[in-house]
Point group: C2
Chain length 382, copies 2
Amino acid sequence: MSNTIKKLAVLGSTGSIGQQALDIIKDFPSKFRIVGLAGGNNTSLLAKQVSQFQPKLVYSPLKFDLPDTTKFLSMEDIVTHPDVDIAIIATSSKIGLAPTLAAIRSGKKIALANKEVLVMAGEIIMAEAKQHQAEILPIDSEHSAIWQCLHGEKGEVARLILTASGGPFYHLSPTQLAKVTPEEALQHPTWKMGRKVTIDSATLMNKGLETIEAHWLFSIPFNKIEITIHPQSIIHSLVEFADGSLKAQLSVPDMRFPIQYALSYPKRLANPRLPRIDLPQLNSLTFEKINYDMFPCLQLALDAGKKGGTYPTVLCAADEIAVELFLEHSIGFSEISEIIASTISLHQGTAKPTLDEILAADDWARNTAIKLTRKANVCLKQ
Amino acid sequence: MSNTIKKLAVLGSTGSIGQQALDIIKDFPSKFRIVGLAGGNNTSLLAKQVSQFQPKLVYSPLKFDLPDTTKFLSMEDIVTHPDVDIAIIATSSKIGLAPTLAAIRSGKKIALANKEVLVMAGEIIMAEAKQHQAEILPIDSEHSAIWQCLHGEKGEVARLILTASGGPFYHLSPTQLAKVTPEEALQHPTWKMGRKVTIDSATLMNKGLETIEAHWLFSIPFNKIEITIHPQSIIHSLVEFADGSLKAQLSVPDMRFPIQYALSYPKRLANPRLPRIDLPQLNSLTFEKINYDMFPCLQLALDAGKKGGTYPTVLCAADEIAVELFLEHSIGFSEISEIIASTISLHQGTAKPTLDEILAADDWARNTAIKLTRKANVCLKQ
């Protein structure tokens, strides 16, 4: 495949990562070709993308007029299509789970941005990927950094250090934190991302999900994964090897870097449109210890990850409900972690769950989180 | 060789790097065995090392009583001995040149700490290494960092960024700088090194020599090698790839890291004796633009490197004389660069020099630098 065009399917093409992936892909018409696109509810944007990239295969929840050479298919049928080399999974939440598994089972390469896929079903995904020799190319910036640092290394890993910007609220007091609004939480200091992941960054849930993702992607036990606050988001993560030497990957915080690396891997492509780092201009890269007490979502995620089974699924589902409720001003910022904690505390976990058990746990957690919130609101009004 | 003991010769075993190499080697008796040692004028230390490591082969300018199983040989005969796998060249100045070439011509691996070897004869060394498939494993911390960052990469390099601590005087005024003493210059803020390289760090000549070394080691043109001041000496250098992404290698500033990596390459060995980095404790890594005007030795080195031929040899030789004169209080700190500049300005360079022409240029430069200093001192006294 090295000298031929890589043929791509982009699931979630209308989301933040999906749009940035298309932005990279259009820079390299001789390297990448879009074979399939799958969008969400933004049908008008998906229609524009179809008109621009002329893919053969499209998935959309709402149908619209397609060019003659294009047809509608399910996401599973798109990613398993013989014309597809790499499936870019840029969907959100559990939507990406079934198509990712289907793509893996057809031996496709998976460029994975949808972190819930690994958080919910890491054990199944990694086992199937091994069995079908399907390569998983991480797109999350931290995992891309670790992947780049590990590349070519034969040495034993002493620890992974995931960096975290700390989000917009890292230095607030508990009283200030309780009062933050969704509008404030959506102003991320360094990264331009979708709404859900931006709120997850503000609660540090995102870093917890990334820790679970790193655990599965790189087969590293949780006790060898550390998190360090690095407000500038320039060092995207580090690997410490057995000899005590570390490698780090750096770039301007721009998701197009990890997207392009996943697509061009194992090569790198010159792209003058991507911004360059000027270290003296940056002047200083700083690091701080993480404050677990102020951001309980992080500890909840780490605990769920270590417990394994269906717990990470319940964590993800409850978080999704809680973040939605926060975004629509139904609950406060501090209640996000409370809803998740309460939901998890009611869960009877299943070890080594099947995909159906994972999806059932997801349903259960969503319903439970909603019920708990209603009950709490009723109590508050009494 | 992967599962067998690597058999080593250490040239310059009584110097700073040589001693640190032995310190690493004794940690891994099942991985490394000392076959040969070559020391300098510190005969008593060399005798102790011989007694401790029981090498078969020894070079010493002054003879002393050897164990029955050990014999004296020349450095060339030691490194070309069939029992030697890796020659650690930790000599200083031009002393390492002939043995390095001999080792290369016998197809040995060269763990190279003696930077003058590449500065003086980079073109010859690299051509011979290619012809004889002799691998060169860099031991300088910056080059080890770049080598580690390049490892496994297939991407085109956009630039190498060598970091420089700036030495002890980086923020002095020109008036203050003119008055610094050898004793002050020998107090390096981050690295424990030999006297010559410590003074070269204070003048930034060292960073110029390293730029020339990097140019040859990694076949990178000078316009793609940058220098950035990084006072903490934690990031040892960085590589920017064509996509704008960078990799960096980090460790506590301790030469045992690059020494151990060169010896264990391509593996890494767990070594609990080496200190670990704690990023939050470090708190901040800073970067500054380099000030060429304050440290003329750096520009002299870069110019000599770009001119090529015998100019880098003349630079090295004049610098050695000037540093010696400074250390014995015969000249001031600012005169180091003046002597080197005057010597270079009198040189008629030879392009693509032979080894003999390089050694002749070295002789000429030493004599010229001494004559120029005498003349200047006579003028000053008149």
